[in-house]
């Protein structure tokens, strides 16, 4: 906690008792904090008041006598007197409830909301007992589907403006609105435009009646049959807090929990409805084994756990440590990740471990940069530099927080992204680097924040400029070079960079960089360079936009090459008993990352490849290499919930794992915030928690190595013992911070500079700046566009979308069909250059492969780029990309 300003309070009187309220607070909130609940329907603490339902009318006296006022719209003022239970207040509340009920169908017995319905509850508490309404109620056809997942019953609707306000204010998708007027007012979508919002499920959660229902929960349970546990969402690295509700050993609903530091009660539909996959019939119920790749039968046969585990142990015993590799692990809990890190590195002794599949960030960056929290990024008046993916697609709840901060709290956004994002229309500056030049653009941006350097670099004569800059002349020439490269970026001119740089240098309320992989067609080390330059900005803090669920936990647990728990490199671990004597041994030397592992496997240098919830075929940036690696490894062991494509292709031994709602543990989000994940139901069949599998294997290989490491709390305790970073993670702290979790201190939190890598500057990657004139450099051709691309050629941008053909989504009935069909998106200005008519089915061809897609135009894609979604159904973009290439040139061909 940082020191807070001395709190001033406003004293008001509520029903005769003195209450201290916060200045500016709404009366309804002040009353609630002091224990006086005022009934309400439209008021929601996370949205602006509208005063629509009039249920919260109370009598307020601000010196001119008592008068009825809606308490959701009246800010407290000194000396205010409030009567919440006066005759007039009660009469008004009674009246409002009666008005709300006259046209309400009162179909509570068949309504999903019955039992947890604010209208029902408040009618019981405040309402009239009988109706005086004898006319015919208002009728609408019901329910109507306003999106694929959400149904609207307008007869039940009390027009509180919560869903419409959420869609407009919070999500920015104003696709539902009031229509008609007076007694015929209704909520509806515009004709032909469904409520296709990534956040539509929130409206169901905040609906104070049963007007909005979502397909996954409709008619599935009664609220009183549900039991609930606080847990953490697992589908992305934000770690939104959720309440998991189950009945009869089946998860039926996930609701957002209002953690002030994280998700404010909001969830994306993927977080909310993703549990459906866990209930899927396709879940792996028992271990299975099949013969070697070259034998006749490729059919799996069901096996017992003992046989399967012994087969894995045998394979591991037979292999020398450097010929063993582990890919994946971001799906796991912190505890399971630690156990797998210990198994791989401490028991087997291999360092070929990578929880990211070549699509993440360098662990050095993630663990070594001064870390920001979401709250830091959203602090009023601050500035956010987004060098990363579209938050709306990849980190949707972060998108909601950032959007709120930009719209309401004056946070300024500068974005450097390969195409327009969900926040572009709110950004102060949007820079679109040409694929392959992101690092140069960021360098130019950072250098240009120094006004002296910028001024000198702008001088016509280089020598004069250098003289004027004096000691900064190096940086001036660096800026000149970077600007020259960056200026050839498609959507970026020098003035754009300069004004964006001025916004950064003028950042008053703190600067937070949201840093993550953007286009997967760009190599990861581009971001190493960008981060190195970003760290030159004074007092910048970084929020790593990690992609996979518990990716941060995996890195903190050491599931990355040359890393052990405690953010230590192998060489930094002290002599003698490693890691407080808990690990039998350590790998001899640093191992391979995902690309290296797959390359080695393709060469035949990997004997055992463990896929820890990984599907390299679909997730690794280079599909061809993934394929060759999977086929080249002698024994592939998969630990997963489903038989994914990689498992089908190559796995010899498949171990079914328990899902996120089926085991206890903790989750570390992208801020380093550790929160509880709760076991709510049992896993299907004999599936086991990942940590149990690791523990069993460890015992088989090194008896005694996991003594006492059961249950997960014990694993947590060992983790806290071996890793200084995890030391604050006591059971007491986790209990105390049940809702918001425990924040692991990042680098820079204690004021130290440089971080675990010892203050050394990162090496600049060996990568050369992308060729300025494009791949072929045909400047002699007068017809060639300035960017140096030939007719019909584009630079590939491949980015993730929220709905894709991923394994979990394939098994979610409600979201399975939401993945957009494959599209090749180009700038409208490029339509003529494509050589194929827009709207036609095309083949996108690179030197490495091709996919089929529909050619469309999109003004958000800069000219010269061609954007494809990462994993569109039937068109995985990794067919086009070869690992390690800086720029992927693609052509479109009619077919």
């Amino acid at each position: 906690m940082t020191a807070t300003e001395p709190e001033t309070t406003v004293e008001i009187t509520v029903d005769g008792a003195a209450v201290d309220a916060k200045p500016g607070e709404m009366l309804i909130a002040a009353c609630e904090r002091s224990g006086t609940y005022i009934p309400r329907f439209c008021y929601h603490s996370r949205m602006s008041p509208v005063g629509m339902c009039r249920m919260c009318l109370v009598e307020v006296d601000t010196g001119r006598g008592f008068a009825l006022q809606p308490s959701c719209m009246v800010p407290v003022s000194e000396g205010m007197k409030v009567s919440t239970e006066s005759e007039a207040a009660k009469k008004a509340q009674d009246g409002v409830l009666e008005f709300l009920l006259i046209n309400h169908p009162l179909d509570c017995p068949v309504c999903d909301k019955g039992g947890e319905c604010p209208l029902q509850d408040q009618t019981m508490a405040y309402g009239p007992g009988e109706t005086r309404f004898v006319e015919e109620k208002r009728h609408f056809p019901k329910p109507i589907a306003i999106s694929e997942t959400v149904f609207l019953d307008r007869e039940r609707c009390i027009l509180c403006d919560r869903c419409t306000r959420f869609a407009d204010e919070v999500a920015g998708d104003a696709l539902i609105h009031f229509m008609g007027r007076g007694n015929h007012t209704e909520v509806n979508t515009f004709t032909g435009e469904p409520f296709a919002s990534y956040f539509s499920g929130n409206t169901v959660q905040i609906c104070p009646v049963g007007a909005l229902t979502a397909a996954p929960y409709r008619f599935k349970a009664r609220p009183w049959d549900l039991t609930e546990s606080l847990s953490t969402a697992w589908v992305d690295s934000l770690g939104s807090r959720v309440a998991v509700q189950a009945s009869r050993n089946r998860v039926l609903r996930v609701l957002g929990a209002d953690a002030d530091a994280v998700n404010w009660g909001w969830l994306s539909d993927k977080e909310r409805f993703g549990f459906e996959a866990l209930n899927s019939e396709a879940r792996l119920p028992a271990p299975k084994i099949r013969a070697e790749a070259d034998s006749d039968s490729r059919e799996f046969r069901r096996a017992g756990w003992g046989e399967a585990l012994e087969a894995v142990a045998d394979a591991l015993r037979a292999a020398s440590p450097e010929r063993v590799a582990v890919l994946g692990g971001a799906r796991l809990t912190n505890e399971a990740q630690y156990m797998w890190a210990k198994l791989a590195k401490g028991v087997v002794g291999t360092d070929n471990v990578d929880s990211q599949l070549g699509d993440g960030l360098d662990p050095r960056l993630v663990l070594g940069l001064p870390r920001a929290t979401i709250d830091d990024a959203c602090r009023p008046g601050g500035t956010v530099l987004l060098v990363g993916p579209d938050p709306k697609e990849e980190l949707p709840t972060l998108y909601l927080r950032l959007r709120h901060a930009i719209v309401n709290d004056g946070v300024r956004l500068v974005e450097v992204t390969p195409h327009a994002t969900g926040l572009s229309h709110l950004a102060e500056h949007s820079l679109r680097p040409r694929p392959g030049t992101t690092a140069e653009l960021v360098r130019a941006l950072v250098l240009a924040t120094d006004p002296d350097v910028l001024r000198s670099a702008a001088m016509e004569e280089p020598v004069l400029g250098a003289l004027a800059a004096g000691s900064k002349s190096d940086r001036v020439s660096e800026l000149r070079a970077a600007l020259t490269t960056a200026e050839t970026s498609f959507g970026t001119d020098r003035a754009g960079i300069e004004s964006a740089a001025r916004a950064l240098s003028g950042a008053q309320g703190g600067l937070v960089a949201v840093l993550g992989r953007m286009s997967l067609a760009e190599p990861a080390d581009i971001l190493d360079d960008a981060a190195r330059d970003l760290s030159r900005l004074p007092s910048v803090r970084v929020l790593p936009a990690l992609r996979r669920g518990n990716a941060m936990g995996a890195l903190e647990a050491g599931l990355a090459p040359d890393l052990v728990p405690g953010r230590m490199r192998l060489e930094e671990v002290g002599d003698g008993a490693p890691l407080a004597g808990c690990w039998p041994r350590l790998p001899a030397s640093p191992g391979l990352d995902a690309s290296g592992i797959l390359r080695a496997a393709a060469r035949g240098d990997i004997d055992v490849l463990v896929l820890l919830g990984a599907d390299p075929l679909n997730d690794f940036v280079d599909r061809d290499l993934a394929y060759r690696g999977l086929r080249g490894a002698s024994v592939v062991v998969a630990v997963d919930l489903f038989e994914n494509d990689s498992v089908s292709l190559a796995a010899r031994i498949v171990l079914p794992a328990a899902g996120p709602t089926e085991c206890d543990g903790t989750f570390t989000n992208l801020e380093g915030r550790v929160s509880i994940m709760s076991r709510k139901v049992t896993p299907p069949g004999t599936a086991r928690a990942d940590w149990m599998i690791a523990a069993d294997l460890s015992e088989r290989l090194e008896p005694g190595s996991t003594d006492g490491l059961d249950p997960p709390q014990a694993i947590r305790a060992e983790l806290a013992r071996v890793s200084e970073v995890h030391a604050p993670l006591t059971e007491e702290a986790l209990t105390q911070n049940h809702l918001e979790g425990v924040l692991l201190a990042g680098v820079g939190a204690t004021g130290e500079a440089g971080g675990w890598h010892g203050g050394k500057e990162w090496r600049r990657s060996r990568r050369q700046a992308a060729p300025v004139t494009g791949p072929a450099g045909r400047e002699d051709d007068p017809e060639a566009p300035a960017e140096g691309l030939n007719e019909g050629e584009f630079l590939l941008v491949a980015t993730r979308t929220m709905y894709d053909d991923g394994m979990m989504l394939r098994h979610c009935p409600s979201s399975r069909d939401l993945a957009a069909a494959a599209a090749a998106r180009i700038n409208p200005a490029d339509a003529d250059r494509a050589g194929v008519e827009v709207g036609a089915a095309v083949r996108v061809v690179s030197d490495f492969g091709h996919i089929e897609a529909t050619l469309t135009t999109d003004a958000g894609v800069p000219a010269g780029s061609l954007r494809v979604d990462w994993l569109a159904p039937g068109a995985p973009a990794n067919r086009l990309i070869a690992a390690g290439t800086d720029v992927t040139v693609v052509r479109v061909e009619a077919w």
């Binding site: 008004a92 009246g95 709300l100 309404f133 007076g182």
Partner: protein
């Protein structure tokens, strides 16, 4: 107005307007009578809406006079003239202008031409017959306040007014009265006309601003109470009524002192009243403000000349559909906001609807309630649900399906929209409806629907009771006189 009174009842025979008698064939609804004509003086001319006629009858002289003064002096002149707002609230325009916070440019002027109060049709005449006078008024206001942008919001249904204003604006732009460098001076104003989509509530100034911004016309939350603080596009905004601004040219030419020579001390000048109903000579009159009484206006020879033959006054609405109703005993009140308010109603937008003894009180109340139920914007629960409920009950009573408990139910629903206990009006107790109303809603539309119900129940409770006991259906549809039966 040619149609029967908004309150219903048996239709009155249409007065013959072509035969002189004060009626002008080219300005239907207006009655030219004896008396000062500050803003309707040009109505006698058939081409009063053209720039040529306007200029030949002293047009844009007020603007020229204003441009000779400092803006502050113009503001002072308006303030000292005590020009009261003619939209309904009767707030002094000069004082309202003074609410603009300094240094928060740009400021906007919005002209409220969304005249939709039942019974009111004076602004329509001003816009149709003398659009240049309104434009000149806008320019004077802009000059006084240092504004450069004015929005003229005209009610959606008023096609002719829109047409005339558009034509007048084109003329004025061409003649250099609007636009850059007005009258060769360093003074530039743009005036843009916008039109509504047909919602009564948009007459409420904050709902009008919402509509002007392209959103659903719903009243804004208060505070801030005045758009002068936060208005159009979040900027300080002055919203003035058409008639208010139409007074400015005369005021600038003749000065505040001359202006105060008309009307009463607290309500100087003239006011336009739209008088409709069972009268011998209904129409819009320009009347000296504050000195004329209801009796004079309804019975006076110079005005409406009394109730149509053979009938007597039963009740009248003194200030448009949303005002509580008055009866014979209120006839001697002056046409001035304060005494009318003290008596428990309002002068509002200057619409007086007169009903004679043939009028069915319940049916008349139902007709007004139906209007408000239809026009409720749907925001506040009590208004959205309550007004329709009131309408349904009244219709049920008229259909002969009333129940003895309905009268108390009507009053109680009214109480839940506009809660009591009512402050007792100064003049009398029994018939007075609370005014200004207390409300459980954001804006006064809901309480407006309560006023006629409470007014009629208090005065004519036996009419309700007899309908409930006798169960004779009353036809709801109005059949215009002369139409085939």
């Amino acid at each position: 107005m040619g149609t029967p009174s908004a309150a219903g009842g048996h239709p009155a025979p249409l007065p013959d307007r072509s035969a002189g008698d004060g009626y002008l064939p080219h300005a239907p609804g207006y009655v030219l009578n004896d008396g000062p004509k500050l803003i309707t003086g040009r109505f006698v001319h058939e081409d009063s809406f053209t720039l040529a006629r306007y200029e030949s009858t002293g047009g844009y002289e007020g603007l020229r006079a204003a441009l000779e003064m400092t803006p502050a002096a113009v503001h002072d002149e308006v303030r000292s003239a005590t020009l009261l707002g003619r939209g309904g609230a009767g707030f002094p325009a000069g004082v309202k202008w003074g609410f603009l916070p300094p240094g928060k440019h740009p400021y906007y002027l919005v002209v409220n031409g969304d005249e939709s109060e039942p019974g009111t049709y004076k602004d329509r005449l001003l816009m149709e017959r003398d659009p240049h006078q309104l434009i000149e008024g806008c320019l004077i206001a802009c000059y006084a306040l240092g504004l450069q942008q004015c929005f003229l919001y005209v009610r959606g249904e008023m096609a002719l007014a829109q047409e005339r204003i558009a034509a007048a604006l084109n003329e004025a732009y061409e003649a250099g009265y609007v636009g850059r460098g007005i009258c060769g001076r360093d003074f530039s104003v743009d005036i843009v006309m916008a039109w509504g989509a047909g919602a009564y509530i948009v007459g409420e100034e904050t709902a009008l601003i919402e509509s002007l911004e392209g959103r659903r016309g719903m009243p804004r939350l208060k505070p801030p109470y005045f758009p002068a603080a936060v208005g159009l596009y979040g900027q300080p905004t002055i919203v003035n009524n058409v008639e208010t601004l139409s007074n400015l040219p005369w005021l600038m030419v003749n000065g505040a002192d001359a202006y105060k020579g008309f009307g009463s001390e607290s309500s100087p000048g003239t006011r336009m009243f739209a008088v409709s109903g069972h009268l011998r000579r209904p129409g819009v009159y320009e009347v000296e403000h504050g000195v004329t009484t209801f009796r004079e206006l309804i019975y006076g020879d110079n005005f409406c000349r009394g109730i149509r033959d053979g009938h007597e006054l039963k009740m009248f609405i003194p200030g448009g559909g949303s005002a509580p109703w008055f009866f014979e005993d209120h006839l001697d009140l002056p046409l001035e906001a304060r005494p009318v308010g003290a008596a428990g109603s309002m002068l509002g937008s200057g619409a007086i609807v007169v009903m004679d003894d043939t009028t069915d009180a319940v049916r008349a109340a139902w007709r007004v309630v139906k209007f408000f139920a239809r026009e409720s914007c749907g925001k506040c629960t009590p208004c959205r649900e309550g007004t329709t409920w009131l309408e349904q009950i009244l219709r049920r009573i008229l259909d002969g399906e009333g129940r003895p408990s309905d009268i108390d139910l009507l009053l109680d629903i009214g109480d839940n929209i506009s809660p009591g206990p009512y402050p007792v009006a100064a003049h009398d107790g029994a018939d007075a409806v609370p005014f200004p109303p207390r409300q459980t809603t954001i804006c006064p539309l809901g309480p407006s629907a309560v006023a006629p119900v409470v007014s009629t129940i208090r005065r004519f409770r036996e009419e309700y009771e007899s309908k409930i006991t006798r169960r004779d259906p009353i036809p709801l549809e109005v059949v215009p006189a002369g139409a085939p039966q």
